[in-house]
Subunit: 434 residues, 2 copies
């Protein structure tokens, strides 16, 4: 397997030096890794032609591909075109078809093209123009033979706004970079819930430490926990596409064997979309009753398009009076056990299931903090109720973190409890083979 070609990214923009997050560098880094290419450095400089030139000169000595983002706008502080042209000793020329496309864009909005947009039609001699479907600034692409060492260098000039850069990267940059990748790369992410990061780490050790026999193949693993969801990431690179794909299949199989139901999805799956699919598949309806999460659970469920198919109602019963009036939690229960108790969680879930006439109801009551904790009921104590055809159960958690963390994690646990219940339903309702 060859060595990956080194790529450098240069981001221009004073806003990136005064507090703005550099999402372009993160996006390009992730995509390059997926392609099996190696991003070796990112340099961020302000809107200053001399600094951009010097960053390009230094990168040229070290890498085979330079991707620049930003500085292609129409105003005086958009200097990337000029800087790259100066470093290469080339001229900028007005490109008539680019100019025409920009003028068209303005015309379609019924606006005359401002004079300074002319600058965006300036193309470096020898550069290919990369069309911009989402903005006025086209990208530019150069394939340069370095005079001193006969090495080839690819330079891409991309616009700064992510909604312009990302589609251009996919359509124009990826096809030109893919052939430079050292072999075939595949990666996947499995999402787990209901087990801690360290427990998952321990369980999957045998897979991670196994010495794969396939030659010339590299596998990298990562584990990342975020608000009680644990992601297992794996990337497989090799020369033989069939072997790489087979390794991916084997790895996934091994993870599933070791973790079972803890894995709830892959890639872009979210817990709420997986739960939604299970509910829709079985034609079941859901309602939820929340106290400490204050609507977050409903919000996450309804963030999924089409959730009205299975979600009918949520109740945020913050005041005790509302718990009684809306959900029928008895005043005696609230009096004897308190709003944060197993008994209240059970009555909230059962009451919501009855009131909304649904198949399943979830309830959450807890202490999100920062104040309101007591020795017997500390901040982070959360009871989650689940009421369904099989009855009502309550699970107690002690969730660490800030108010926002506790709320987010409690909602995640609630969704995971329902997911596991739906999986049990799926197994129990499966027709027995005769």
């Amino acid at each position: 397997m060859g060595v990956p070609v080194p790529v450098e990214v240069i981001c221009t923009g004073t806003e990136l030096l005064t507090g703005k997050l550099n999402t372009n560098a993160a996006f390009i880094g992730e995509r390059l890794a997926q392609l099996g290419l190696s991003l070796t450095a990112v340099t961020v400089v302000g809107d200053d032609q001399q600094r951009i030139e010097s960053a390009v000169q230094q990168a040229m000595r070290r890498c085979a591909v330079i991707i620049l983002s930003g500085g292609l706008g129409p105003t005086f502080d958009d200097l990337t075109r000029e800087a790259v042209a100066a470093v290469l000793g080339r001229k900028l020329s007005q490109n008539e078809s680019v100019r025409h496309a920009i003028a068209q864009r303005f015309a379609s909005r019924g606006v005359a093209m401002p004079a300074n947009n002319d600058r965006q039609a300036a193309v470096i001699d020898g550069a290919a123009v990369l069309p911009n479907a989402n903005g006025t600034a086209p990208g530019q692409y150069l394939d340069v033979r370095l005079p001193d060492c006969q090495r080839m260098l690819k330079i891409f000039l991309l616009p700064g706004p992510p909604r312009e850069l990302q589609p251009m990267f996919e359509s124009a940059v990826v096809p030109l970079l893919r052939p430079l990748a050292a072999g075939i790369t595949r990666q996947f992410v499995l999402h787990c819930a209901g087990l801690s990061e360290s427990l998952i780490d321990e369980k999957i050790r045998p897979v991670i430490e196994a010495e794969r026999k396939l030659e010339a193949e590299a596998i990298t693993f990562g584990i990342l926990a975020h608000q009680m969801v644990v992601d297992i990431k794996a990337r497989v690179t090799g020369d033989d596409e069939l072997l790489v794909d087979e390794t991916v299949t084997v790895l996934k199989h091994e993870f599933h064997e070791l973790l079972g139901d803890a894995i709830f999805g892959e890639g872009h799956d979210a817990l709420e979309s997986v739960v939604g699919k299970l509910l829709a598949k079985h034609g079941k309806k859901l309602a939820v009753a929340e106290s400490c999460t204050g609507g977050l659970l409903s919000q996450r469920i309804t963030a999924i398009p089409g959730s009205s198919l299975y979600f009918t109602q949520g109740a945020v019963t913050y005041a005790n009076e509302a718990k009684t009036r809306v959900l029928g939690v008895s005043a005696a229960t609230l009096e004897s056990f308190g709003a944060v108790s197993e008994q209240t969680a059970a009555e909230m879930a059962a009451g919501m299931r009855r009131a909304a006439a649904v198949d399943y109801a979830l309830s959450i009551t807890g202490i999100a903090g920062p104040s309101g904790g007591r020795p017997d009921k500390p901040v982070g104590l959360v009871y989650i109720g689940l009421s369904g055809p099989a009855g009502t159960t309550v699970t107690r958690y002690h969730v660490p973190g800030s108010r926002a963390d506790i709320r987010e994690r409690a909602a995640t646990q609630a969704l995971d409890l329902l997911r596991r219940e739906l999986l049990r339903y799926e197994v129990s309702s499966r027709p027995v083979k005769s």
Copy 2:
């Protein structure tokens, strides 16, 4: 006023080259700007000693302060200490008191210190140790006289995790950098709602274009819109603290004169906290009824600690049946006008106010998309109802963006409607001077 001293940041960590957002660079950039210092470049390199060394060498030639983040951990790929020592031609020595502090940290958790944590006790000769209250890796600080040019250079080595870096930056780095700032810097952010970014831009032009007479003073302005909240940022730098403070006061006054009630807060104020404070101040209670926002409005209101003081209940009535059962929206209204209509929004708000027996109730019904739009009721159409002592009103919006954008923006508009109503209440209930 002097020229600001150039500062460079070098972030190490392969994860920053494969998709992780560089929050440390954004944090440091923002803080330096607030201090009146100039971040001139950020370089990101992987966990590779040679590349870290080369980044430090290059930065040394250009700047007066280098801040490194990351690579201070205990494992083999934590190489920042070694790289900086090599560039400066200095030795690393085991620091006994650092070693002791690390061992203590482990002991307090009942764990023996692993052997590789020894590496974290290695301090560059001549460096000051910066204590780490939130992790094992101490920071290091060097004041170096460059041999070739007699220039002084400050080098800071900070840990990578933001929860360790940020407090260390505040306590140990800021005091050493503040004297390098070119003058006194103050900045402020005003948050506006209910007016578009371009309208605000137009209204505040006179302030931005005014030629301030104060000598040797620099003012920079910025406008940033995010989900219908528009932030106006201003930074004032000068040599005379009194003049700088006075300018800040004048600018704020002018913005308030021009924008009035559109400004809802400053700094860390959020719309939901401002609304919460107004409700608490006047002893008023709030309940909300949501359809398309699915709990997001409740969630934002209850994200504020202490919101149980004024928020009693939320209803997420996703199904029409729930709108009727929970809020008393009449079947005839739903039939004739549809769930997304002025009439339904009005009945939702009035019904919630009655059911929850509160002073104010908000309602939101709309089409969040991506599907479900029709020519007469397109995606983004949102009705917001507000029911209070003065009656019930409904406002119609056409909100652009994705499903998530539409939900977020509708919730923002609802909060702003209530805020303006509470301000009117405040004015009308003010005692008349005799």
